[in-house]
Symmetry: none
Subunit: 152 residues, 4 copies
C-alpha cells in the first residue's frame, strides 16, 4: 500500500482566506480553488464580483498544478511553438492549462494539493496564487515546525 | 433592464457553515455547494472524509435546484416511467438531477441561489440541505427583516 | 493534513492476475481495471478476446465503486423507478454506473481502491470482480496479517 | 474480408515490463499504456509515484501513435504555426497529441499497436517509449524470426 499526504479542508480554507486577503488588498475579486493531491476539489470561493467564466478556470488551474506538480505558469514555455510540448493544452479534456495562477502546495516533500486563482489578469491571478502558496508554505511547508498547535 | 437578486459569498459561506454543523452532528462528512441565481458556483466545501465522487454531484444538485427553482427531490416524481418528464436526467449534459439534496434559496420572493449536498445517503443529504435552507430562510428569507444589520 | 492509504501497482497487478485466473477458468475473457482510492487508474488488462466496448465500462465500474465506496451492484436498487436515486446514472459525466462488476477494495478499514470487470454478462463480470476482491481481502484486508513478507 | 494483426495482452505486458525496467533505471516512475491496432487499450501500468494527471496523457499518446502510425514526436513539426497541420491538437476530441512519448509498434510490416509513456519530462517519456518499442521490435519486429517459441 501507498500512503499519501493530502490537504484537509481547514487548511484549504485558510489558504483561500490568505488568497482573498491579497485579492482584497489589490481591489480585484477572484475565484479561488484548492484541490487535493489527487486533483479533487476541497474548497472554493467566488469573491463578490469575480467573473463566472473564471470559476472553472480557477478549478482547472489548481487541477493542472496538482497534476503536473508544477506551477501552471512554469509549464507554459515548453508548450510554445517549436517546443516539444506544443499543443498540450488540448489534453486531459482541455484541462492541461498553462495559464498563470495555479501553484502546487508542498509539505513534507510531497505535493499535497494546489491552489488556482482566476478572474483578474494573468499577472494578478499569479500574484494572488503566490501569496496563497507562500502562506501555506510558511505554515505547513518543509521549513515549518509541525507542532499540533499550528495545524489549525 | 432586469435587476437580479443574487446570493453573495459571505451568505453562501454562512449557509455552508450551517450545513457543516448539521453534518458534523450527524457524523456524516459532506460535500456542500452553493450556487447563485444563475447556477454558477459561489462557494464549496468538502468536509474531511467526504467522497470525491460526490463533489460534482453536490454542485450538480445545487445547479439543478437553482435551475428548476425546485428542490431536486420534488422534481423526481414527474420523471418516473410513464410520466411526461421521463428521461429528463439526460438533459443539460446530465446535470438535470432529481437526487434529493438540492434546495433553492429564496429571498424577497425570488430564487437567489441554491444549496446542494452529497456524500451520504439521499436521506442524509436531504436533511443537511434542509438544515442549510432553513438557516438561510430564517436569516434572509421572506419572513425575515431585511435590515442591513442582518446581512452579516 | 490528511493521510490516505492507497493501493500500489504491485498489489493492483496481483488483483488483476487473480481476476484473470477466474475469468480463464470460466472461459470468458474480460477487461479488468484497478483504480486507487481517488478513482485514478493504477493498472488495466484486456484479456485476449475481451470486447473493446467494455474497456471503458470496466474502468468506469472501478471508478464508481471507489467513488461510492460500494459495490456498483449494490447501488442499483436505490436507482430503480420510484426510488430516490432514480436517474443517478446520468451524473458524473455518465460515470455513475450501477452495473454489477465494480467492487471497492478495503484495507485497514479504508477503501484503498476498487476493481472493475466488464466484457461478459453482468453475472460473469460480478463473479470475476468478487474473486478479485476476495483475493485482495485475504491478503491485504482487515483480517489479514500485515507482515512485510505479505506486501508483495 | 480484412485480416488484422493486433498485439495480444501478453506481448503488451512484456512491452510494459520493458518500459518499466528503463523507467526504474532512470529513477522516474511512469504511466505506460499499450493500445492495439484499433487504438483500444490492451494494458496499462501506473508505476508508484507517477502523476495521476499523466494517466490519460499516456493513453492518448499511444492512441495517437497507433492512429497516425507515426511517433507522436514526429507529428509535431507539421503542426507548428505556418504549417498545414496547425491546430491539429484540437481534433479527435483533443486526442491528436504531438507530445513525445507515443510510438507505434510494427510487426510484419504492419502497425499492430502502440506504446504511450507519460509522467516525466517529454525527453524522459520519449526515452522510455523508445526502449519499449526497441524491445518489441527485437522480439516481434520485421527482422525477428516468427517462431511460436518467441511469442511468449
Amino acid at each position: 500500500m501507498l500512503t499519501k499526504l493530502s490537504i484537509d479542508n481547514a487548511t484549504a480554507e485558510a489558504v483561500i482566506a490568505a488568497a482573498s486577503e491579497r485579492a482584497t488588498a489589490m481591489g480585484v475579486p477572484q475565484n479561488i480553488a484548492v484541490v487535493d493531491e489527487a486533483g479533487h476539489l476541497v474548497a472554493f470561493r467566488r469573491m463578490d464580483g469575480a467573473k463566472f467564466f473564471s470559476i472553472e478556470i480557477a478549478i482547472t488551474k489548481a487541477f493542472a498544478a496538482a497534476g503536473t506538480r508544477k506551477a501552471t505558469r512554469d509549464i507554459g514555455p515548453a508548450t510554445q511553438p517549436g517546443q516539444p510540448g506544443f499543443g498540450a493544452q488540448a489534453l486531459v479534456g482541455g484541462r492541461f492549462t498553462t495559464l498563470p495562477g495555479g501553484i502546487p502546495l508542498e509539505a513534507g516533500g510531497a505535493v499535497v494539493g494546489a491552489v488556482g486563482v482566476s478572474s483578474g489578469s494573468t499577472a494578478q491571478d499569479q500574484e494572488v496564487a503566490e501569496a496563497a502558496a507562500a502562506y501555506f508554505s510558511s505554515r505547513w511547508g518543509a521549513g515549518a515546525p509541525v507542532a499540533d498547535s499550528q495545524k489549525d
